[in-house]
Amino acid sequence: MNIPYTVEERPDTGLTNGKLGIWLFLASEVMLFGALFSTYIILRMGAPEWPHGELNVTLGAINTVILISSSVTMVMAWASLKMNDFGKHRLFLAATLVLSAVFLVNKYFEYADHFARGEGPAHSTFLAIYFTLTGLHGLHILGGMIVMAYFLGPGAGLWKKNPEQFANRIEVTGLYWHFVDLVWIFLFPVLYLL
């Protein structure tokens, strides 16, 4: 039996099931990160002093530029499919995957530098919330990379069988990826600059 409404829209919602599903998932993600942001505020308000300049702002800014670039390449990967250019789609999706890998490599160097100085999550309240927020965000990046690698590899075959369904899958992946970018847009000033 085929899963209904993967290509055509449901008459009652006007949406494909995949699209409504990803938005409900993203709503739950907003609450997950929201709880951690709220925790950050409570910890910061209760702390007698809050450290400044502990993080490498240049590296954080570079990672922001990388994630914004990856959002542009992701939306272009979807747009290329809509314009029937599968070759360009693969190029943009591969670029998104590479950019996300570069983001994680930068994060690795940042983490390694902290641990080399003995600054783990147990070192201070600030570092505890820093590692929690960026670690959870990093896991989301990794999850997105796995999905993108799937669509570059075994999942790409769907384009020949059902191009519209494939384009919808890439759109849903893109929505997730832009959300991950959106979270970082707030994490960067909150953790690195304030």
């Binding site: 919602t13 006007g14 949406l15 699209k19 409504l20 938005w23 409900l24 709503a27 907003v30 609450m31 929201g34 709880a35 942001f37 709220s38 505020i41 409570i42 308000m45 702002v57 800014a61 922001t64 530029v65 914004i68 670039s69 959002s71 542009v72 992701m74 939306v75 272009m76 747009a79 809509k82 314009m83 029937n84 893109g174 929505l175 832009h178 959300f179 970018d181 959106l182 847009i185 707030f186 960067f188 000033p189 909150v190 600059l193 304030l194």
Partner: protein
């Protein structure tokens, strides 16, 4: 959300412009940090810029500016609950739990003076 190839082609230009605007806003955020503003002002400036950037990502890249009412409905509920979460820290400051009450003897002594 654009659906036919001609519309998508037009939208590509918008995606590029929004991408460029996001880079500019990132540069402004970092530059504002170098001004060493007072903490409340720095927080306000950084969060205003982040909200503008977030709105551009959500509105254009996530096509939220042209979506169906079901998605707006789900997100409206999320915004309300998210706002409640952000208010939680101020509730913790308003209650008196953990505030030591003055000892009865000390209070009576103060009245005598």
């Amino acid at each position: 959300m654009p659906s036919d190839p001609a519309e998508v082609k037009k939208a590509v230009r918008t995606y590029m412009m929004v991408g460029a605007a996001l880079f500019v806003f990132t540069a402004i955020t970092v530059a504002a940090n170098r001004l060493h503003l007072a903490v409340p002002l720095a927080i306000t400036v950084a969060l205003i810029i982040a909200t503008m950037k977030g709105s551009m990502v959500a509105g254009v890249f996530m096509h939220l500016s042209h979506e169906r009412k079901w998605i707006y409905g789900a997100l409206l509920l999320t915004v309300v609950l998210f706002a409640a979460l952000m208010c939680l820290p101020s509730f913790t400051m308003m209650d008196g739990i953990g505030t030591p009450a003055p000892a009865v003897g000390v209070a009576a002594e103060n009245v005598g003076h």
